[in-house]
Symmetry: C2
Subunit: 572 residues, 2 copies
């Protein structure tokens, strides 16, 4: 029982010997993350088409729940860019942005996604996430980054913009160019310039003037908060809202009320596929961050428990009026670098955000949306990576194709179509590849016991013997190709009397492959050729013992290929 | 050009040096197959819910076209049991049996299936058929055999029966038990007893009385023809049709008129999935027969050209008023055993059936349907195989599950649902298996250069070195599991300074796996562990050279694991 408890509630793993040192480290890290998370929460809520406070709500309960259920010591969960974009896309299919229905739908999406993640975790289905291959994820995140940046231009220009895919948004933006609000544009461009300087040049400057690296790092991360404070003061002092600058406005003060969202069957049908995609994308992003950070301190991540933790975080988000969350890259790195020792840091961050929600929200009234848009744009541009795309092109044309399809369809049609097409295409490619198994006809390297490919090496062969090295496990998807290959080899070697399958790389043989081996055996028997096996692995032999194949096998099983070849060449 | 011609028209491969001996052999084989095929064609048409002549039409043009396009020298195409059942299921969803619309739908199905097969062949998509695994096919054919046998009981009992799945048919049969026609039952049971005796006991008797094995074999195959002739004479002589015995009735005399069936988009939508399933099942059955026979004479089969040949056969069948066809097991074996040398035997068989269509059809008027039903039941009971099911259970529980699901759903719901569920379940099983790659931590076998699993052998290891033998190609579906395994190994071996990946079984590394290897490398670097590779295959090294991975690799690439281990243990 205590073991099971520790498995499902990893908090018991560390809470027992929580030290004073850890407490101090965690509180400091929490402070820094809180400062970073406040503008991010507001900005990503804006990106998702939701009121600012929903972003704050999504940064309280999920952090506490992750601290209880999560296996990463330093992962920081909350609203992130790509998931916010996916939420916006899915939600606006069902409800009109700006309505209560829209907020309720986003909350229901978090609930659904949470339930889905938790179920995947309980049934240990984490492997499903494997089917989001790296190239597809890279392509998807890059395309999402571009879409997000474009979508925020409306706030920078101070115009209305519509459409979900690239063309619609760009067209809408162009048609509105005459309506640009120059004050808004000034704030937006100012923030963009300031934030990109903070990212690129500030660090060097701070180090030069003698500020320590750790402190400098914190100051850099506080850049967005600084932009928020300055633009609030400017807007309120100069009454810029009366000059048409769009502001955040009234943000309800106080903690969210708890409420379990109702999931009607109709809603599940409408949101189900979006919830699944959001869950998978969120999980894949989160787990890779968690693993990277854990490895740095030789800690461990349990992927299935991570699913449960993210599931609980999303359910918690939904119950407390938030929207879908996941582990974020930037904030986790900050948390880690700031010295967070345990998930308690996440709990303290939650307290920080909760305090902000109670006390600071009135101050956000004059915050220009352009400021938030600028922080989003600067953040997501780091997601757009051209180099990995070029590298994939050089490394594998097939993988590049899946990536390219994902990018184009995400930009031109929608995020959901893009990611789905990516998964399907990498799947088809994979299945096609598995149908063509690797094998080689081998011969003996003179003077050794080694056998090598006859096409690549000068080796000794015997016209009566065909030695085939099977380089893969034999499965229904590749066995027919292999069966065909054996037929061809035998048909083109009329002197052949023995076929030896060298099974050193065969980890398993499924039922289809077993039956194919049986028919290969009986076909060869019909033309007086014996079938032999060599170097069969232990577990494979064990399972073959349960079959008729060994009993009917015309030839022998040899421990080594050398032994097989030696004994058969000696025959007259 | 001649090479391309030979590839797509294999007839040029053998027609050039067609000898007098081959001619005689082919004609004799054709005669025997014709005698066997006439009752089969009629019976399977009945099974498909079609008029008897449709079965004959499906046994003329397809044979000629297969002779031109096929790569098997001895495969005999035509109507077969399982495809007839699938045709009945698909067609009766759209049209009422007994109507013109029903016949037209079956013809359209042949057309669609032919076009689909030909396209698959032209685009060399034969590998798709791999996804019908052996256990699923075995389960499906067994369940179909049971369904077919049950469906024919109505003709034996002389009652009407409805329903497609097992329960519906059995219920319908039970409710009609009071309406049994005893004369029909007598004919039906008589035929069943006679035909099962012919199958089991006649051969021995004939051999005993001194008839040669070849002749005895032919006489056994002529059993159904004999039953047909006797019951026609009985029925016509005693006017049994007036006692309620259901007869074949008027069969139109003469060859079919040629007519290209129209395929409306609506029809394609309705029949598309059925046509795909029929094509795949037919292809898988046909290719395995063709390969078995070809191997006996060391001949070769080209799967993609077989697709084209079956496609042309089905298009030919549709154009000449027939229904879906494929290569049949029993008739191909008879053709082979009777000494057929070339596909010309198929052409001669077509002439035989055409002559029968022109001259013999009036004689079929009094043929009782019970006789045909009995030939079907006897034929399909050989499809029902319990032993392979038991063997699959013993060999692999997962494969058994896919098989069991196929059987149950085919019997209880429908053939289409059954086969689809089988394919999907073996697919999911396969994908799940691929997510768990085989690997082993290895150590040196004392006094040798071999490295073996530390769990199974007494081997030499070094606490500073973790040697991992990777037993599979690295792909997006299994790399995350592997990444996790490395993390765990490193976390649980605090003294570790080197990780060596022994890549002797790695045939390829896709982009996802490459990126994971890069992150493994950089994570290990962060904790001062070097990553090395050993025994990397040539093609893999070639592709890695196009990547950044090798440049950033903290360790070395060693030709052999022994060399790697030796050089790293020597370090201080």
């Amino acid at each position: 029982m205590p073991k099971l408890l520790k498995q499902y509630l990893p908090i018991f793993d560390w809470a027992g010997d929580y030290s004073r040192d850890s407490l101090i480290a965690d509180i400091i890290a929490a402070l820094i993350v809180t400062i970073m998370l406040i503008p991010q929460s507001l900005a990503y809520a804006l990106l998702a088409g939701l009121p600012a406070e929903v972003g704050l709500y999504a940064s309280i309960a999920p952090l506490v729940l992750y601290a209880i259920f999560g296996t990463s010591r330093t992962l920081a969960v909350g609203p992130v860019a790509v998931v916010s974009l996916m939420t916006a896309t899915a939600t606006s299919m069902i409800a009109e942005p700006g309505t209560i229905g829209y907020i309720e739908t986003a909350i229901a999406l978090a609930m659904l996604s949470g339930v889905f993640l938790a179920i995947m975790g309980l049934f240990r289905l984490g492997f499903i996430a494997n089917f989001l291959s790296h190239p597809v994820m890279t392509g998807f995140i890059t395309a999402s980054g571009i879409l997000i940046a474009i979508s925020q231009l409306k706030h920078i220009f101070g115009v209305q913009m519509s459409g979900h895919n690239l063309m619609e948004q760009v067209n809408s933006l162009i048609s509105k160019l005459s309506e640009i609000n120059s004050t808004t544009l000034l704030i937006g461009l100012g923030c963009l310039l300031f934030l990109s300087y903070v990212r690129s040049g500030l660090m060097g400057l701070l180090l030069k003037v003698g500020i320590g690296e750790k402190m400098a790092n914190i100051l850099v991360k506080a850049g967005p908060v600084f932009a928020v404070i300055v633009t609030i003061i400017l807007t309120s002092g100069l009454s810029l809202d009366q000059r048409g600058v769009d502001i955040v406005g009234l943000v309800p003060q106080g903690l969210p009320t708890l409420h379990i969202p109702e999931l009607s069957l109709e809603l599940i049908e409408k949101l189900g596929s979006a919830a699944i995609l959001i869950s998978l994308v969120g999980f894949v992003e989160s787990i890779s961050v968690a693993q990277t950070l854990a490895a740095k301190r030789r800690q461990q991540i349990d992927p299935n428990q991570e699913l449960i933790a993210l599931g609980m975080s999303n359910i918690g988000s939904a119950v407390s009026g938030g929207y879908p969350v996941t582990g974020g890259f930037a904030r986790s790195v900050v948390n880690f670098d700031a010295g967070a020792m345990t998930p308690a840091a996440g709990g303290f961050t939650a307290i920080g955000i909760a305090l902000a929600t109670v006390f600071l929200t009135p101050l956000l009234y004059f915050l220009p949306k352009a400021t938030l848009a600028a922080t989003i744009i600067i953040a997501v541009l780091s997601l757009v990576k051209i180099k990995p795309i070029m590298e994939t092109w050089r490394y594998s044309k097939g993988d590049f194709f899946a990536m390219f399809l994902t990018i184009v369809l995400t930009l031109m049609v929608s995020v959901e179509v893009g990611i789905t097409a990516g998964v399907v295409s990498s799947f088809v490619l994979f299945m096609y590849r598995t149908t063509v198994p690797h094998y080689a006809v081998v011969g003996q390297v003179a003077g050794t016991e080694h056998f090598r490919n006859v096409k690549r090496h000068k080796v000794i062969t015997d016209p009566r013997i065909i030695s085939v090295r099977v380089d893969e496990s034999l499965y229904f998807s590749n066995i027919r190709y292999f069966e065909n290959a054996i037929n061809e080899l035998v048909a083109s070697n009329p002197q052949c009397k023995h076929v030896i399958l060298m099974c050193s790389a065969v980890n398993s043989i499924d039922t289809s492959a077993l039956e194919s081996l049986e028919s290969i055996n009986s076909r060869l028997k019909a033309v007086n050729i014996k079938l032999h096996l060599s170097e069969v692995k232990g577990p494979v032999t064990d399972r073959l013992a349960h079959s008729h194949f060994l009993r009917n096998l015309t030839g022998n099983i040899y421990l080594s290929q050398y032994e097989a070849f030696k004994s058969l060449t000696a025959e007259q």
